[in-house]
Symmetry: C2
Subunit: 347 residues, 2 copies
């Protein structure tokens, strides 16, 4: 699927975490920068032993990066600083790593208020404390007025994947169960609610939170966890389509099992949005051995950030549709890979 | 020195690599995110052993980040893609590390031409091959028209510092010599020349290049190298002021020993710029043991990127001025820490 042509221009949807972004990465980036680590397109790169320079005595390094362009910078439940820490910590956690170190790089528009910068760095400090990671390097660039929209942050992170931990969509098999650690779509909805143009009287708070602890808890459970991913851009729909597609299997979801707060549901219906495509920033999707699923669910629910965890689906032998949803009223629909994203600049 | 006040706004000069940026980092960032690794404010963080997750069997990890906002994106001798690889590789090299892995994160303005993106990723590919590093993870964010100026890149990098390598301004001592690996200011001048508003008929090409190999060559020379830094924003003036200040000593430079191409000299005089404050992106400053300096100069000159290396100064006991320049005509002037930067968005 070649989506990129020479005379084309970048669209907002190219950054949306859906099929258009995937096409850009495969057709443009991977063609030029291919190597076995990058080609896996996981949330973090799990690195091979250090060539010539020694190796990690126990486990492997994980390395990840994300730039944050969320608009507005402050929303109910968080801000770009908290998001930049949690998002990168969660990418490390999703690769099975214990998050350890972060870098923090700002691109700031000239004229940005310093008191807002202070609030954002305060949030970075608090979130990195909560996530038990340290910011060890950073950078500040300032661009002229009009050359950025306030402030953007990049965080990159290093973690260590303990020996014996091995996560990959290739391990997913028929009979596996699909879990999510809590209600979906709250981050996306909180950002929408914080935008000026939308007047909403329902109180939705972003779920943004660091999931290193939750992941550590469930990984203690031997080899039962096959795949982890935090559903950010493109939401549950994107993550499960990617997983099912990489595994060559089909995932069946049960609508009545998917945790969804009434506020998110109501606004989604009002605005015509699909909660399955809304971003989370503090939820983890786990695909696990069928027979271990109950135990992992229990462990998730004992974790402070997993109290509302639920088994939401199961893995079937391959059908034409990669992800299908059994609706509450007994219907069935295909959950497609989002094309772009429902709303830009959600993270 | 408190430069940051609550009611102030970010200025372009806050990103310039000079004293104003230093103040912002110390007053705003370090107060909130202090830890021993970050507080060293080196080009890369050299990491302690991995807590609980094992350690590197030989050497220590170095970790760094930089965002690139150079304007224009393409200039003589390079582009933002080559710059993003070389800048981060050189930050790792300056900490004595062998650069190994990079992440690559784009913030792209909607409407950006895909053929330009292809050229940039081609340059990333070529430069990372030359630098012997691998891009192992990445991210793409797209923002609306007007919310960025074309395209920004963040690269973060991991390298390994071999056992026995120890670089720090605290090792600098009286009698040490100051070396630079080649002519200064060419990157800064090439970017100025590429800007539409300046019409210059002199041909200056950016020096942007990866210096991992050059650094490896000179570090083979035992313990003689005390301090390395690549003079980017703020140029030689900023690097040497920082080094002298951290060491509590004074550095004397000899103007006639500082390699400077005639084109850079001519345009600097025409535009009233100080070449000592102009950015390089392919030069390394080394402060080395006095008696080993000749040998290190020879090694630098044998390296393909160090043919025009020169011993440009020496370390003296502390005077009031941190950095002084003996001019060609026999005068003497203080080289101050630049306040902001002569021109924004040079890297």
């Amino acid at each position: 699927m070649s989506i990129v042509h020479k005379d084309e221009r970048i669209l907002l949807a190219h950054g949306g975490g859906g099929s258009l972004m995937r096409g850009l990465i495969e057709d443009l980036i991977l063609k030029r920068l291919n190597n076995p680590v990058l080609a896996r397109l996981e949330d973090s790169a799990v690195l091979p032993p250090l060539p010539g320079g020694g190796e990690v005595t126990s486990g492997r390094l994980a390395f990840t990066t994300d730039s944050y362009v969320v608009k507005p910078l402050f929303f109910k439940g968080g801000d770009i600083g908290k998001l930049a820490v949690c998002g990168t910590v969660n990418d490390l956690a999703a690769s099975g790593a214990r998050p350890l170190w972060l870098t923090l790089s700002f691109i700031i528009e000239e004229g940005f208020p310093i008191d807002q910068l202070e609030r954002i760095v305060d949030a970075v400090s608090e979130a990195s404390g909560q996530a038990e990671v340290k910011v060890v390097a950073g950078d500040i660039k300032v661009v002229e007025r009009g050359a950025a929209d306030g402030l953007y942050i990049n965080t990159s992170g290093i973690g260590v994947v303990a020996e014996g931990v091995n996560l990959s969509p290739s391990l997913i098999k028929e009979g596996d169960k699909v879990l999510v650690s809590g209600p979906i779509g709250e981050h996306g909805m909180a950002v929408i609610a914080a935008r000026d143009q939308v007047e909403l009287d329902i109180d939705v708070e972003s779920d943004v939170a660091p999931l290193g602890g939750l992941v550590r808890d469930i990984l203690d459970n031997g080899q039962a966890v096959h795949f982890l991913r935090d559903p950010t851009r493109g939401g549950l729909a994107a993550v499960l389509n990617e997983a099912a597609s990489a595994a060559g299997l089909t995932i069946r979801l049960f609508e009545d099992k998917i945790p969804l707060k009434s506020g998110v549901k109501a606004i989604s219906e009002m605005l015509g949005l699909d909660p399955l495509s809304l971003a989370c920033e503090g939820r983890m999707v786990a695909i696990v051995e069928g027979k271990g699923a109950g135990k992992i669910l229990k462990q998730m629910r004992q974790s402070p950030l997993g109290k509302e965890a639920s088994i939401i689906g199961e893995v079937l032998s391959p059908l034409v549709a990669r992800v299908i949803l059994e609706t509450k009223v007994g219907g069935r629909r295909t959950v497609d890979m989002p094309y772009g994203e429902e709303l830009p600049r959600i993270c």
